[in-house]
């Protein structure tokens, strides 16, 4: 009964999304105020219905209704309740329902927070978001209905959630990621609405910026959580594999990063307008491409859902419609957009353009590496894959270039800077980065390594150039405190975001070059020396969890003085329902290093294959990502995005411009 209510709610939501896609848009064309005003109640209804559907599915999980196929495949009566709830998005159908719910949530947010925008624009934006929801919900209803029943032969118990997904990281990773993916639909809708209206200006960029930034922050956290999860849950101790599905989330992130910077230029200086629109389209298209890659089953990947080709065809058709339609509109409208302002070579505009070029090149190369295997198979039938070395060959270099540009970019003036003056500002930061970077890079016991040196120099360069900029901003203030208070939240957000980037680089470089790892056979009493620590294998014993049995190893870690640093208890779990083995790594976390131990297979006579890692500074990678996301949140909280009244008074004029466009 409850499942049918959920199913019915999705059908109703589909109908509402059709109305939402058509009526406000028609209203904006035919100047029907009432039709345009329908956008908001429709958005509320859409979200409400999908929430009902989502809660219904959750209820089916919580009450172990195994007559629902999706529940039977992904849950079990023994599964702990929190995992029953998170199992809603544990596989394809339910996770897509979550996707649709979030799309409706963003639509609702636009309807609620856009009171101050011109009515025509809001109507169009909501209609375009409605059109996206039509596509998503059609996909959900016709190819991936999570409410399908297994009647009359309902199983007694379910097949259980994949043990890999029975984990805290996986409870929050997909929602964050989808918030980011779907969030980019808002800036996409703004861009399309602006193209339709023929008005691309600073105001459009100002409205789009907070939406882009907040979606980007979600995506940042989502990717970081995914990386963290892979690190501790897959039992390999790696944090990034250049897996096609990782790339699928990383490409929209890179494009979204470019978009945020390009929007800044469009808002402040009114240039790069058509480029910004193009980036908005590209970012959302890459999000959809990501969905296609993950859900169509065309890829060999850790994450790929095993699915039927019908779904792939559907998403591909939707993708082509979105990309084709928006690019066609872009081709028709963009040439009419003119930028009148000029800027010189040494200006913030140029530096942000270079930022965009670097990010676009990185995205394009990742796209090639990700799609080439598919293309090659379609064209010549040969099956191949592109290995991580391909990505590692160009990506670090591009990021170093980005980091170097960043330092100049935050100091340089809009429009024009004199080169000598710029050099005058930055020489101390440059000198400091070189000196400190060199000093720190020789300090480590492993000796001087070129990549570490480069990494440390660019990290310190980012930090010092930010300080230089802050110093310049405060120089003429009467007191430090007053000066700091005068600076805007978005200014702090920017610097925080850049610091996050620097911390992330630091983590990546140090963990790549200062980590040590060893896979070996260990019998009880065996010892291993690694990075100045002694790992002693104490043996294993049987333990029992709620829905699994496990062999639990004990590994004592002692330092050079013989003091016990920690005891680690890695597990090898056998889940009862799926009969599958799972490695549960044991980690002693720390900012400067993680000690990471995982059990391989039993080798007889109490001996085990054991994986021991010393991961230097690995946590900085995720910490950096969190700091970046926090920077995004700070930027969005800036009060200039909340200056309602000022904008409202402009509405009248804005609207007249729109209706003539």
């Amino acid at each position: 009964m409850i499942a049918e209510i959920g199913h019915f709610a999705v059908i109703l939501a589909f109908c509402l999304s059709l109305v939402l896609a058509i009526v406000p848009m028609m209203g904006s064309v035919l100047r029907q105020t009432l039709w345009m005003a329908m956008g908001k109640p429709l958005a509320v209804g859409l979200f409400g219905l999908l929430l009902i559907a989502f809660v219904s599915l959750g209820y089916c999980f919580a009450t172990d209704d195994f007559s629902v196929a999706y529940v039977a495949h992904n849950s079990n009566s023994l599964l702990p309740l929190p995992y029953k709830i998170s199992a809603i998005w544990g596989a394809h159908e339910g996770s897509f329902l979550l996707w649709c719910l979030m799309a409706a949530g963003w639509t609702l947010a636009v309807a609620v927070f856009s009171q101050s925008l011109p009515r025509v624009l809001v109507a169009r934006v909501l209609s375009i978001l409605g059109l996206c929801s039509v596509g998503f919900l059609a996909f959900l209803l016709f190819t991936s209905n999570p409410f399908k029943r297994l009647l009359p032969h309902a199983p007694i118990d379910g097949r259980d959630l994949n043990p890999l997904l029975q984990d805290f990281g996986l409870i929050i990773h997909p929602p964050m990621l989808y918030m980011g993916y779907v969030g980019f639909s808002v800036v996409f809708a703004f861009a399309i609405a602006a193209l339709l209206g023929g008005r691309l200006d600073a105001a459009w960029a100002r409205w789009s910026r907070p939406w882009t930034t907040i979606a980007w922050s979600f995506l940042t956290v989502g990717i970081a959580l995914g990386s963290w999860w892979a690190y501790y849950e897959l039992g390999w101790g790696g944090w990034w594999f250049w897996d096609p599905v990782e790339n699928a989330s990383f490409m929209p992130w890179l494009m979204g990063t470019a978009l945020m910077h390009s929007l800044a230029v469009t808002e402040k200086r009114g240039v790069f307008k058509s480029w910004t629109v193009f980036l908005a389209i590209a970012t959302f298209s890459l999000s959809l491409l990501g969905a296609f890659l993950v859900r169509s089953g065309v890829l060999t990947s850790v994450h790929a859902f095993a699915t039927d080709p019908e779904r792939g065809v559907f998403i591909l058709a939707f993708l082509l419609f979105v990309v084709g339609g928006s690019l066609l509109l872009y081709a028709l409208r963009a040439p009419t957009v003119q930028s009148s302002t000029q800027f010189s070579l040494w200006s913030r505009e140029t530096l942000l353009l270079l930022n965009n070029i670097v990010l676009t090149i990185a995205t394009a190369l990742i796209l090639v590496g990700t799609l080439y295997p598919l293309l090659a198979e379609a064209l010549s039938g040969s099956k191949l894959s592109v290995g991580p070395p391909y990505f590692n060959q160009f990506f670090p270099g591009l990021m170093v270039a980005l980091a170097l540009l960043l330092g100049i970019g935050i100091t340089v003036n809009w429009k024009h800077s004199r080169l000598m003056q710029l050099f005058g500002y930055l020489r101390w930061a440059l000198l400091g980065a070189l000196v400190l970077g060199s000093a720190l890079s020789v300090w480590h016991t492993q000796g001087w390594l070129l990549p570490v040196w480069i990494g440390l120099v660019v990290v310190i360069w980012i930090a010092l150039s930010a300080l230089t900029d802050l110093f310049r901003k405060l120089k003429h203030q009467s007191s430090l405190w007053r000066g700091l208070r005068k600076l805007t939240l978005s200014y702090y957000g920017m610097h925080l975001g850049h610091m996050g980037f620097a911390i992330c680089i630091l983590g990546v470089v140090l963990t790549s070059f200062y980590s040590e790892e060893r896979d070996l056979r260990m019998a009880p009493g065996d010892q291993l020396q690694l990075s100045g620590l002694t790992f002693t294998f104490m043996g294993t014993q049987q333990v029992t969890g709620p829905n699994y049995k496990a062999d639990q190893g004990e590994i004592k870690v002692t330092n050079a003085d013989g003091d016990v640093v920690t005891r680690l208890y890695p597990q090898k779990r056998q889940y009862q329902v799926q009969r599958s083995m799972m490695t549960e790594a044991a980690i002693d976390p720390g900012i400067t290093r993680d000690l990471y131990v995982a059990l391989g297979e039993p080798l007889g006579e109490g001996a085990w294959a054991v994986r021991v890692h010393y991961k230097a500074f690995v946590r900085c990678i995720w910490l950096g990502a969190l700091v970046m996301a926090l920077g995004g949140v700070l930027a969005v909280l800036d009060k200039r995005y909340r200056r309602r009244r000022v904008v409202v008074s402009n509405e009248q004029t804005a609207e007249t411009v729109y209706s003539h466009a």
Binding site: N162, L164, L234, G235, G297, V298, T300, V302, A304, A306, Q342, S344, L345, T350, L353, I357, I361, A364, L365, V368, G369, Y372, S382, K383, L384, S385, V386, G387, P389, Y390, Q393, F394, D519, L520, R521, Q578, S580, M581, M582, T583, A598, G600, E601, L603, G604, A609, R611
Partner: protein, 156 residues
């Protein structure tokens, strides 16, 4: 040419130069790092290059997995129902590695036609078969795969 145009031209030239350089370097890197997939039949027929990183995949032959008692060295064989290829791998096998299960081994062929793997992939969902392996099995006319597309039967 007026200074604004000149400036613009310079920027455009930078962009063109930069992106072509990136494209060339990218394609070179791509060419070096492509790993082709070969089925056991193709490997046995000598279609794969020796000493270049390739991917070989098939079902692990039941009873073929042997493990050294004092180190992490493993040997096992993979098959598509027609040919059998021996794989050497030193390290920790993935959790879902099992005899009868579809796996992909990434590594190089040695002179005697055996695959020296430095990575073995088994999927994390046991109902999921790597598409390459499934294709290879179908092509070789493996009994479980000749018509059905459902790989779930293999593990049982």
């Amino acid at each position: 040419m007026n200074p604004v145009r000149k400036n613009r031209l310079r920027i455009v030239l930078y962009i063109v130069f930069g992106s072509s350089l990136a494209a060339v370097l990218g394609l070179m890197a791509l060419d070096e790092n492509m790993n082709y997939f070969y089925s056991p039949v193709e490997l046995a027929a000598g279609k794969a290059p020796v000493d270049k990183t390739i991917r070989g995949g098939g079902l692990v032959v039941v009873g073929s997995h042997q493990r050294d008692t004092q180190s992490l060295a493993n040997t096992f064989s993979i098959t598509d129902g027609q040919a059998i290829i021996k794989v050497h791998y030193t390290g920790i096998l993935p959790d879902l590695f099992r005899e009868g299960q579809g796996v992909i081994a990434v590594g190089k062929l040695n002179a005697s036609g055996e695959l020296i793997a430095d990575q073995v992939l088994a999927k994390h969902d046991e109902n999921y078969m790597p598409p390459e392996v499934e294709g290879a099995l179908k092509q070789a006319g493996h009994p479980d795969y000749s018509s059905s597309s459902s790989p779930a039967t293999v593990t049982n």
